[in-house]
Point group: C2
Chain length 262, copies 2
DNA sequence: CGGGACATTGATTAAGATCAATTTAAGTGG
DNA sequence: CCACTTAAATTGATCTTAATCAATGTCCCG
């Protein structure tokens, strides 16, 4: 494979390797933010401010990081909102559990996603944020974020937009659930993942789904068997090649036609 | 019927009558906000500030109102975000239309709802806000809202929370769509409406659904016939009495059991 | 090499969509 | 005020899709 894209594994290694050393009890070393430097940070002004915070132990310009191991929760529903987090490397799932114990996967944050906004309405988180793989987040103390919003108009707007962005994610997902067949949902899901992979500098053609079929099913409001069969049908139609978690898009056009809003 | 609740019709008359005079081309007279006085305003600080705005023609403390006739749009998808609106009387539907023309009803704002937040992410509205009946909104120029957020920490927080509240509405709806049968969805919908009616001072037992079956169907991701049949089944089970738009809850307990998160 | 989580596949059932026909209510204009 | 028109809602018959139930297969990790 001679693409310009890095494989998921290699990219993680070279970019973030030093910070994903488990299980190291010592905090990661201070660094400047590569994500901000690359313009990939959705809230650069918030972040910049947070880095200036009195509370955090690193010198100005350093970043307060936290590592989360695969399967571990960054925060849980009910936890008081203390920090927002910028996902720096890895991927997670946001899980809602209702009073009856039914689980719903609200989203699959990946590098660049802002996490923790589900705590803003009530001051307590509404979801569990669980790592799908060993991950690294950039910690933005919420008090700093607020202080920053107070002094910096642009930062305040960024925060508003970030919250509103979540809303629009759910709106989109709602359309998918309300109007699409299981096969179309899966096609749409793959398309969305593909676009997000591209945004993050990976190949949009070929990538690894970090979540289980169960997670996908709970995300899209279907059963695991249906997910499996839908993938099977896409495979038979030579639209994708899927083997376990590894996915390759063979016919982007057909996929797009099938997965685009009905 | 000797309840302490007002019928929808009478309440509209006595509380808001003077302001719903259609089709009056002259702006409604300045008044102080009864909603704020009653503590029913979700963004009192934002509103208070907006009322102080230089731009609006009324003396300090007055409210800038706008009437919207049944079927008319307060704003449309694509319109630039100019104002937020507090719904003062009446009810609306927020309609999303995707590129293929499929419609989805995102929510049914009623008195007390804050409208227009769907414009914050991009600066342009993502939905149409259409009046289900002749309605009255309180206009909050967005520039004023922002100015207010800048100077008033509490107001800024209210804005953030208001946006986040939308998110949580969609999250809830997502759970409903992903996990509930058509009958459970309808039960849940009626319950939600009932609670909202109670919040607004109407009877939670008996009220009028201002939206069509089609609207309900598009809100809950089902077909109109299925809505009708689900209502029919609830009727047969003596859980509700439904005749056209008029709805009466006969067995709140059973309804709650059926409509509460599965 | 074996255990366990994850995934696939098949057979059957059930729920909701679809197609088609009425019924009901609310306006509208003579 | 009443016949006429039309939008909204209901009801029935049939078909399709996805859920359910039940095995079986596969890969990863110790």
């Amino acid at each position: 494979m001679d693409t310009a894209y890095l494989s998921a594994e290699r990219r993680d290694m070279q970019d973030y390797g030093p910070f994903i050393r488990f299980p190291s009890p010592s905090p990661p070393a201070p660094v400047t933010c590569k994500m901000a430097a690359a313009g990939a940070c959705s809230v650069p002004d918030l972040c910049r401010h947070a880095r200036r915070s009195e509370q955090q132990p690193f010198p100005t310009g350093a970043i307060n990081r936290r590592a989360v191991r695969r399967g571990q929760a960054l925060y849980r529903a009910g936890d008081p909102l203390v920090n927002l987090y910028q996902l720096y490397a890895g991927s997670m799932k946001l899980r809602i559990t209702n009073s009856a114990g039914t689980e719903q996967i609200a989203s699959f944050p990946m590098a660049g996603s802002l996490l923790g906004l589900d705590g803003i309405e009530t001051g307590h988180h509404m979801c569990d944020a669980v790592a799908l793989e060993d991950s690294l987040v950039c910690v933005l103390p919420f008090s700093d974020v607020l202080a920053c919003s107070r002094t910096d108009t642009e930062a305040a707007l960024q925060l508003n937009r970030a919250i509103a962005h979540e809303t629009s994610h759910y709106r989109r997902l709602l359309m998918v659930m309300a109007n699409m067949s299981s096969e179309e949902r899966i096609a749409n899901f793959i398309l969305t993942m593909s676009e997000r992979m591209a945004t993050n500098g990976y190949s949009p053609q070929e990538f690894v789904l970090k979540m289980t079929r169960e997670d996908i099913a709970r995300h899209l409001g279907m059963k695991i068997e249906t997910v499996s069969r839908a993938l099977g049908r896409l495979q038979s139609a030579h639209i994708v090649d899927v083997s376990r978690r590894r996915l390759c898009i063979r016919d982007p056009k057909a996929l797009s036609q099938m997965g685009s809003s009905r």
